[in-house]
């Protein structure tokens, strides 16, 4: 998007037409409100960027189907030029015509028609260049179907538009949709506007609307429309003085027969504009982050670099893109509807005055006059940036141009730096509402993302602090390592051919997060379907699960890159989850999950086992979207076992209530998941993650390590927090895969010998390849419990371990027998306890007993003592002990 520069932001409002009473769609569901349909169509408009078009920024839905649109705006328009009542010079007219045509042509390329061209919608920026406003109105209202008012202004309607008539919006039963207008009707409107500019006065001002329209239709019978119009308005002499070029242009535009009238495209390449066209360099859409062409292809640096710095005008805010400025404006307390109310564009009558008198059984109401406040007032109100500028007046220029090279400072050291670092410690929700903080984050991320993938490391680092909501979509894509020309790849996938999963998609889409306005619009559905199909088609061996949808949604709402993110996300976190026969994968997943619960919260686990309730990790689907986002911010940073931790953290929050309830209540509890403090959840899950030995969450069916680990520095420098267990080099000490049934039988997770060594900080000659991270405060201190009989123990054991022989450890009731060793065990309650033994069965049983006795963080050494033996780490105690 272009920087705001000297334009401003404007807001305008209109009503979508209300739906008829009690009409259902063909699928039996209630109809989508028109305002939501418009909202869905609006999304594409945000991506249309051209110097001759006013950038659309946002749309909001108000009460009673009101829509408020925020877009780029300029204070001046051709209307002001006309108000001077002086003919405009020919060269100026040519330029204006050319610029308008440029805008129109670009729109047409995207399949849009303006239809509402008028002097007040052709804005002029400070330099006098044209910007077309309201260009998307016709598109977003589905060619005027979704609104009650006619689109366009009577004086500028093309004859064919008038002839095609308008539908009858008042009678819903037989609403005829008017035929859509083509690009050529805009050319007529342009012709009328140019004619007015030539004359320096408005046309048809003396005529009633009906007369005006009739007059335009009658123009078909005359030979020379331009002359007739001039005659009618008594300015033949001005026409005579016009240059030939202009006359020819007017004649071309004001051709009555649409087939003979040129399109904007044709007119643009007409020889008329041969002098003007050279002034305008062709427009290149700036390449996005994931486009196929190099981003610097059209980059031209001035001869003298210092010119770039010459700009003395210190308005840094104006250099930010309009989207960012709007976002910050909202944060600084901007409210579209309030602005419009202040300017009296929205005037509402008290509702008690507009009540109907009588309603029939079918809901038709009588006795209420037409509410005047629902009439269209298409004035655009300028949004004042004063408040925002005021807020940001202390923010120095450094904040807008942070240096990225030095890795040290996360936040710029400006005069507000202290304040910012103070802000960084506040809760996330407050940080997300803080204008200065967000400005800094947005600028920083914007710059980092521009340097993606070169700056990938730093993106990771900053993302761990937080992700600015505005740039969340693209940041996620960067975190997931999306690269390459994704759009082209996406285009190339066949998304329309019917496939067997269509039916499922069709059924599932209307069930997911329908409260979200965007996702419930037809446009949203279509997009969603395309992405899902693209994913299904390109991964033929996988099947779709309903809950995969919910993952997809999260991406969809944020970015156009949904497909790419999906493709990257699924393999990382849910590898093989969607295989055709996925039962064993899920089984394993769930078993590991319940082991994790046992590891962290034995009491809860006991209870859950008692009532036979297996919480599903996917329970997080039921959160509302806005809560999910934060969870995902962290999720993407973690490795594939991180979801377990989140699951456990959620359960811990619900702990008290789960403990108090039986099976049925638990199910209910989950089906309307109560308030969960997501931030606390995130914090706790990170904490849990730290306590979890990496190999505990080992899964046989997790994604195998990448064959060619990319050693570009990005991966290796990530902390152990992000690195996956599976990606570490395998050794004899790593965990072996075990049978699913065995796995299910065990209560506590297994950890690998490698981890044990790592955790105990044992040093020995033979395991130098294990990367030992010393003196990390977060490393859990642990206790090794050896449950072999004492002879074996004396023959050699892990240093620091205690011996509690399995056979003599527990009373028949399952309680621990008191002895010095068990006392130690008790004093170590709360730390990680690793059970080491010979036979797997015994160790597992021992662990189960410990869990029964509410020992948290119990795990089993995979492979038992035999695994350790070859490392030579076993020590023989001195005889006196």
């Amino acid at each position: 998007m272009f920087p705001l520069k000297d334009t401003v932001m404007g807001a305008s409002t209109f009503f979508a037409s209300a739906l008829p009473h009690d009409v259902c769609g063909s699928n039996g569901l209630p109809l989508t409100p028109n305002s939501i349909k418009i909202l869905g169509r609006f999304q594409i408009l945000k991506t249309i960027t051209h110097p001759r078009l006013c950038q659309y920024v946002d749309i909001t839905r108000g009460k009673h189907e009101r829509l408020v649109v925020a877009a780029e705006h300029c204070e001046k328009s051709l209307e002001d030029l006309l108000r001077e009542r002086k003919p405009v010079s020919s060269s100026r007219i040519l330029c204006i015509a050319y610029e308008v045509l440029q805008g129109l042509q670009y729109m047409n390329k995207h399949g849009m028609v303006h239809r509402a061209l008028s002097p007040c919608n052709i804005l002029l920026d400070r330099k006098g260049h044209v910007k077309l406003a309201k260009f998307g109105l016709y598109h977003m209202t589905a060619q005027g179907v979704d609104v009650d008012f006619p689109i366009g202004y009577p004086s500028y309607l093309a004859p064919e538009v008038i002839a095609q008539g308008i539908g009858k919006p008042n009678d819903h039963t037989q609403c005829e949709k008017p035929l859509p207008s083509g690009p050529k009707s805009d050319v007529w409107s342009l012709g009328v506007i140019l004619f007015e500019l030539c004359m320096g006065r408005k046309l048809f001002q003396s005529l009633e609307i009906a007369e005006r329209l009739k007059f335009i239709l009658m123009l078909g019978c005359v030979d020379d429309i331009v002359t007739v119009l001039a005659e009618e308005h008594g300015c033949l002499d001005i026409i005579k003085d016009l240059s030939e070029n202009i006359i020819a242009l007017l004649k071309k535009c004001l051709t009555f027969q649409p087939s003979k009238r040129p399109t904007p495209e044709e007119l643009l390449h007409d020889s008329l504009f041969s002098e003007v066209s050279s002034l305008y360099p062709p427009f290149h859409k700036p390449a996005g982050l994931f486009s196929s062409s190099p981003r610097c292809a059209n980059l031209t640096l001035p001869e003298d670099i210092s010119q770039l710095c010459k700009d003395e005008d210190n308005d840094f805010l104006a250099e930010r893109s309009i989207e960012e400025v709007y976002y910050l404006w909202c944060l600084a307390g901007g409210d579209l509807e309030k602005e419009l109310v202040n300017k009296e564009i929205i005037r509402s009558k008290p509702p008690v005055c507009t009540l109907p008198n009588f309603l029939l059984e079918d809901g038709e109401s009588f006795g209420q006059g037409r509410d005047r406040s629902s009439l269209l007032d298409d004035t655009t109100v300028t949004l004042s940036l004063c408040q925002l500028r005021n807020r940001l007046k202390d923010v120095g220029g450094e904040a807008f141009y942070p240096l990225l090279e030095d890795d040290q400072p996360a936040l710029p050291h400006s005069n507000s730096g202290n304040e910012l670092s103070a802000a960084a410690t506040l809760p996330l929700i407050i940080r997300e509402r803080d204008t200065e903080y967000q400005l800094n984050r947005i600028v920083l991320f914007d710059r980092l993302l521009k340097a993606y993938p070169y700056k990938k490391n730093q993106i990771w680092k900053e993302a761990r602090v937080d992700i600015p909501p505005l740039l969340r979509g693209i940041t996620w894509a960067a975190l997931l390592g999306v690269e390459g020309a994704i759009e082209a790849k996406y285009d190339a996938i066949d998304k329309d051919t019917p496939i067997p999963t269509d039916r499922q998609i069709e059924v599932d889409i209307p069930r997911c997060h329908q409260y979200d306005e965007l996702l419930s619009s037809p446009e949203g559905h279509a997009k969603f379907r395309r992405v899902l199909k693209a994913w299904v088609v390109s991964h033929p061996n996988l099947v779709l699960l309903c809950f995969c949808l919910c993952h997809c949604i999260v991406f969809l709402i944020l970015s156009a890159l949904a497909y790419a993110c999906m493709s990257a996300f699924i393999p990382k976190y849910l590898y093989n989850f969607f295989l055709k026969d996925n039962s064993h994968v899920i089984q394993e997943y769930l078993t590991v999950f319940s082991q994790m619960i046992a590891f962290h919260d034995p009491e809860l686990s006991n209870h859950l086992n008692e009532i036979g309730f297996i919480p599903d990790v996917s329970a997080k689907d039921v959160f509302p979207l806005h809560k999910i986002f934060h969870l995902w911010d962290t999720l993407l940073l973690g490795n594939s076992s991180f979801p377990f931790c989140i699951g456990v953290a959620i359960l811990q929050q619900l702990r008290d209530r789960l403990l108090a309830n039986g099976f049925n209540e638990c199910i209910l509890l989950f089906s309307d998941l109560p308030e969960i403090d997501i931030e606390r959840c995130v914090r706790e899950s990170i904490n849990l993650f730290r306590w979890t030995p990496k190999s505990a969450t080992y899964r046989q069916y997790a994604q195998p390590p990448r064959q060619a680990p990319d050693s570009n520095g990005a991966r290796s420098s990530m902390s152990s927090f992000a690195a996956d267990y599976q990606e570490a080099p395998r050794s004899d000490l790593s965990r072996d895969s075990i049978n699913l049934d065995d796995l299910k039988a065990e209560v506590s997770p297994r950890i690998s010998a490698e981890d044990l060594i790592d955790l105990c900080e044992l040093t020995g000659p033979s395991h130098s390849k294990t990367p030992v991270k010393k003196t990390k405060p977060s490393k859990p201190k642990l206790l090794v419990v050896d449950i072999r009989n004492s002879e074996d123990f004396n023959r050699g054991h892990i240093s620091g371990s205690i011996n509690v022989p399995f056979t003599s450890a527990f009373t028949p009731e399952g309680d621990l027998i008191q002895c010095p060793a068990t006392a130690t065990l008790q004093s170590f309650k709360g730390r990680v306890v690793v059970i080491v033994g010979n036979a797997v069965k015994n160790t597992a049983a021992f662990a189960a007993h410990l869990v029964k006795n509410k020992y948290p963080r119990v795990c089993i050494l995979d492979g038992g003592i035999n695994k350790i033996k070859p490392t030579g780490l076993l020590t023989v105690p001195s005889p006196q002990i």
Partner: protein, 550 residues
């Protein structure tokens, strides 16, 4: 799935693309439907995959495909446009009518072309009042309103006393006559005396009605003038004569009211409140209340409990022109009048106090009657038109309507607005028939559908608090057994829940209060049974447990 109305011109055309690979000349033919709905680059990608096309034609194909689509689309537009122009030229479409439709559309929907607003007295007054009631002057306003209220109620009590006296006198006379019956007087004499009594009673009543009407009219006019004047005074505070005038009054008022004893006895109210969550994923919170009370309790001004009353009044007055109104549902029969049953009681309550903002109840009912007649006329002309096309079979209903045009049918309702009731701004008069007493009321019953429409109006007109008779009756009777009550309550709870969920999709989930009322005569035990049922049907929001940080 796609609506095919309004898209009369779908044409299929073949896109032909020729290319050569080596010596082979190949032709690709794609049938396309115009207007093309799908994205061209998606289509292009699909073609490449589907036909396994070589990559060297990729860009060329894309260009030629989009060019083809563009050109054909333009041609379609041109053809349609010219057909329309031709139709106008040849006179197939009347040019005048066409222009008029356009002009009408502009006039009715755009501010620019709409007729300039005629300033209506109502709205100006509404603005002024809304300003005043939210200013320090609200105290004065309320006092004044209360003064008027007191004088009206004095008038009413005077009337009642006089009527009572008359009746007593007449009774005594009648007794005397009866004693003489058969002796000196005949039946005829008694009859004529009765007629005479009745007449004089009527005369007296009429006299009082007229007097009340007059007083009300005078009060209303005075009040409105005074409000406007006060508003002007407050704007330019130099000559604040009115505000002085009014400042004296509160003390007077207090004295005058103190004398009035308790008129309405406080009955033991049973009440239970719930906070519920609706919606599967995004939840909206609403308040529900179950009350054992009379509907009209929300309307009556209680003269005792001074301070509480005032707060209530202030609350009601302040929200009158706001976007959080209070409404209630009254169940009425099929006549629009105020002669019998709850209708009469309601009208009596309404007349106890002058309505300074809206027309009186009788006037409003007259307006409703007119509107109903108009609606019927409109409807029947439409159905007739409909019948000409296809003979459909709901003639029963049609006949029913024709029998008495001014009556309303079950499920239909009319709305009256009030500023003078204690907690209510809007009353929905929902028509029900005897069917609601039966056991067999289903969710498809007209009364239930009426409830739905009422909630819909609440939605469109910002009525955020609504009181509903839970059992769809105002009085209990013999046949309403415990199972009947439970069944009915369950039905209404469930239906209202459904409607509230629907509402959430209409207005984006504004928090509302729904009050369910059960008749006073219901037993306490029954009430608690009902209040146990409510949380089973609605999902009561789970309490937020605060725990200390670990």
């Amino acid at each position: 799935m796609k609506p095919n109305k309004g898209k009369p011109f779908t044409r299929a055309r073949d896109y032909v693309y020729k290319f050569s690979a080596g010596n082979e000349h190949l032709v690709l033919t794609v049938p396309l439907k115009f207007p093309v709905q799908e994205n061209i680059s998606h289509l292009h990608g699909r073609l490449m995959v589907l036909h396994n096309l070589p990559c060297f034609i990729e860009n060329d194909l894309k260009q030629s495909l989009s060019k083809f689509v563009e050109e054909e689309t333009i041609k379609d537009y041109d053809r349609e446009a010219e057909a329309a122009l031709e139709a106008v030229k040849s006179g197939k479409v009347d040019i005048n009518q066409l222009a008029d439709t356009w002009a009408k559309a502009y006039r009715e929907t755009t501010l620019e072309h709409a007729k300039p607003e005629e300033t209506s007295w109502d709205e100006d007054f509404a603005d002024v009042y809304h300003d005043l009631i939210h200013s320090p002057a609200s105290e004065m306003l309320l006092n004044l309103e209360h003064n008027y209220f007191v004088s009206i109620s004095e008038l009413i009590s005077e009337r009642d006393v006089e009527l009572k006296k008359l009746r007593e006198r007449q009774g005594a006379e009648m007794d005397k006559v009866m004693r003489e019956l058969g002796k000196s007087l005949t039946d005829q004499d008694v009859n004529s005396l009765a007629a005479q009594h009745f007449e004089s009673q009527q005369d007296l009543e009429n006299k009082w009605t007229n007097e009340l009407k007059q007083t009300t009219a005078i009060q209303k006019q005075e009040y409105q003038e005074w409000v406007i004047k006060l508003h002007q005074d407050l704007k330019n505070p130099n000559n604040s004569s009115v505000s002085d005038e009014i400042k004296v009054q509160p003390s007077q008022l207090r004295e005058s009211v103190e004398g009035n004893g308790r008129i309405y006895e406080e009955q033991r109210l049973l009440e239970e409140s719930f906070t519920i969550h609706l919606g599967a994923q995004l939840k909206t919170m609403h308040n529900l209340r179950l009350l054992r009370a009379d509907m009209l309790d929300f309307c009556k001004h209680k003269r005792n409990q001074r301070s509480g009353v005032k707060l209530h009044r202030l609350q009601t007055a302040m929200s009158l022109y706001s976007t959080s109104l209070c409404g209630m549902v009254l169940l009425v029969d099929n006549r629009i009048s105020s002669y019998s049953g709850i209708k009469r009681d309601f009208a009596t309550v309404c007349q106890e106090c002058t309505d300074f903002h809206f027309p009186g109840i009788q006037e409003q009912l007259e307006i409703v009657q007119k509107v109903v007649l108009k609606a019927r006329a409109q409807r029947s002309s439409k159905t007739k038109r409909h019948h000409e096309n296809k003979i459909s079979g709901n003639e029963d209903k049609l006949k029913n309507i024709e029998r008495n045009q001014s009556n309303i049918l079950p499920g239909e309702f009319y709305i009256t607005r009030h500023s003078n009731l204690s907690e209510i701004h809007v009353a929905f008069h929902l028509c029900v028939d005897d069917n609601v007493r039966s056991v067999s009321v289903t969710a498809r019953d007209p009364a239930i559908m009426g409830l739905r429409n009422i909630l819909k109006v609440c939605c469109t007109h910002d009525i955020t608090t609504i009181s509903i008779p839970l059992l769809l009756v105002h009085e209990m009777s013999e046949e309403m057994t415990i199972p009947w009550c439970l069944k009915r309550a369950e039905l209404v709870f469930k239906c209202v829940k459904g409607f509230m969920m629907e509402m959430a999709s209409w207005d984006g989930g504004i928090s509302r209060t729904v009050q369910f009322l059960v008749p006073q005569t219901i037993s306490e035990e029954m009430f608690y049974q009902l209040s146990n049922m409510l949380p089973q049907i609605f999902r009561v929001s789970s309490t937020l447990t605060l725990t200390s940080k670990h």
